[in-house]
């Protein structure tokens, strides 16, 4: 049967998935092989999340799953059923930037920009983690995000500024 109609066989393998992406409920049918990263970029057209190594080594694909950062390239879309995903598009937008996005702009914390959305998603997650106060602590917590341009020192400066502002405001 599948030899006569390969599309039907392919259709058989598709799995229903419902996830909430940037606050919006999305109901999809996906191939089991589809990564969350490819799902976001190719199906939902949320191209702010980038594909770097596609092997969980560079961090360019970092998103938040249930509020925790994860590499979307190593997550299968089909197992995200019922989960809440936030991408860079859900963080802020021109005119109403997340404080971390504004700090990256202010500190020139990027050059080519390819790793930037992943860096920002990690940096925002870091604010709620148990990261120590020093620059070295930030470097350790940000080590899963690689920047080929070498904007690291400005990235640390941006993260530290947002943390200082938060603690002055008495936020966690």
């Amino acid at each position: 049967m599948s030899a006569q109609n390969p599309d039907a066989a392919k259709e058989d393998r598709l799995l229903p998935v419902t996830m909430v992406v940037n606050g919006e409920k999305r109901e999809l049918r996906v191939d089991p092989r589809l990564s969350l990263l490819d799902c976001l970029r190719e199906i939902l057209h949320l191209t702010g999340t980038k594909k770097g190594c596609d092997h969980g080594q560079c961090g360019a694909c970092t998103v938040h799953i249930h509020g925790r950062r994860a590499n979307s390239c190593l997550a299968l879309a089909a197992v995200q059923d019922g989960r809440e995903i936030v991408t860079i598009e859900g963080l802020g937008s021109p005119g109403r930037l997340h404080p971390m996005q504004a700090a990256f702009l202010e500190h020139d914390a990027y050059q080519c920009g390819y790793c930037t959305s992943g860096q920002i998603m990690s940096a925002v997650a870091l604010l709620k983690e148990t990261c120590g106060a020093t620059d070295d602590d930030v470097r350790e917590f940000m080590s899963g995000n690689i920047c080929r341009c070498g904007a690291y020192s400005n990235i640390v400066a941006a993260v530290q500024q947002v943390r200082r502002t938060q603690s002055e405001k008495g936020e966690p």
Binding site: R13, R33, G59, T62, R68, A70, L74, A75, A78, V79
Partner: protein, 332 residues
């Protein structure tokens, strides 16, 4: 990636029955359990793993960290590396485990990777991960280019003529030192396996890495209560300060009373084909003064049978210094 079917298991019995149809639970398995996926999905993209079916075990209630009434701890197989490292009980009683976990991978990976998945992660040997090269672990009988090739990161203990791949886990090293047991449910009765008996030496079958059989589902890991007054530490030496696999690492847990060593448990990572523990070297420390000479002698004993490869003779001395420094950090 090769096409596969994905089954979302809703109870353990169904998951076990599904996986039991695989001819092996080792390299070449046609059915794999999927938890965090940080190792498996990576290896499937590389073509190193080519399962026909994945059984999603994320909804089987395998989470949770519980204190046992004897003072030990029970860690669910699906507990994430992040949650385990940050758990107050682990930080307080099993500090080397928390430190070991945090010395591995990145926060993104630790947020997803699970306890059992960490114990079952595969070697980072470049030949294993590259399907264009021979590798006895990936394809038995194809040869081992590492023995004459890029072996700087690879093992100096427990190797064979067929394989010199290092076990890459930090978590397993600390758990080995803490006398962990792995608890498994399978097609027959549930059973417990001491972690020291869990991993196999490569011998002439490097494709077999542990004692798991088709259908075996790791449900949890237990750590016995530490002896009174035990202090522990984990030290990992690597080419980068962060986000890198070990050249050498040590988990050490010692009890020192009146300047004498009452108990010593330690294991090494980065040097063995499995997490490396040497009971004779531990025994030799009991009753000895907690001084550098004692620990140096123990380190010499551990490395007695080391067989350096062409690029990693430095690991012998590095391992001794790593052990020595870890002991100092543990007992002070």
């Amino acid at each position: 990636m090769k096409p596969f079917e994905l089954e979302r298991a809703t109870d353990r019995a169904a998951a076990i029955a599904a996986a039991a149809a695989s001819p092996t639970a080792q390299q070449g398995a046609s059915i794999r359990f999927l938890a965090g996926g940080t190792t498996l999905v990576d290896l499937m993209k590389l073509g190193v793993e080519q399962p026909e079916r994945l059984v999603d075990i994320n909804r089987l209630g395998l989470e949770g960290i519980e204190e046992h009434r004897d003072g030990g701890v029970r860690i669910g197989a699906a507990v994430t590396n992040s949650d385990l490292a940050q758990h107050p009980l682990i930080k307080q009683r099993y500090a080397a485990l928390s430190e070991a976990i945090l010395a591995g991978a990145s926060t993104q990976l630790r947020n997803v990777a699970t306890t059992a998945g960490n114990l079952l992660q595969r070697t980072r040997c470049v030949y294993f991960r590259n399907i264009a090269t021979p590798c006895n672990k990936r394809e038995l009988g194809s040869g081992c280019p590492a023995i004459e090739g890029a072996n700087r990161m690879l093992a100096i203990l427990g190797t064979s003529a067929a394989c010199i791949a290092t076990n890459p886990s930090d978590t397993a090293v600390a758990m080995m030192a803490y006398d962990a047991s792995v608890h498994v449910e399978g097609v027959s009765a549930a059973r417990s396996i001491a972690l020291k008996d869990f991993y196999l030496l490569p011998g002439d079958r490097p494709d077999r890495e542990n004692v798991l059989r088709p259908g075996d589902l790791v449900t949890h890991v237990t750590l016995p209560p530490p002896p009174l007054g035990e202090k522990s530490a984990y030290l990992k030496l690597r080419d980068r300060a962060s986000y890198e696999f070990a050249l050498v690492s040590t988990a050490a847990a010692v009890v020192v009373s009146n300047g004498k060593i009452m108990s010593a448990r330690f294991a090494l990572g980065g040097v063995g084909t499995r997490p490396w523990r040497v009971p004779e070297a531990e025994g030799a420390l009991i009753g000895q003064p907690a001084a550098e000479e004692s620990f140096r002698r123990a380190a010499d004993l551990v490395l007695t049978n080391a067989k350096p490869q062409s690029q990693n003779a430095f690991k012998v001395e590095l391992a001794k210094r790593c052990m020595l420094e870890t002991f100092k950090r543990a007992w002070r």
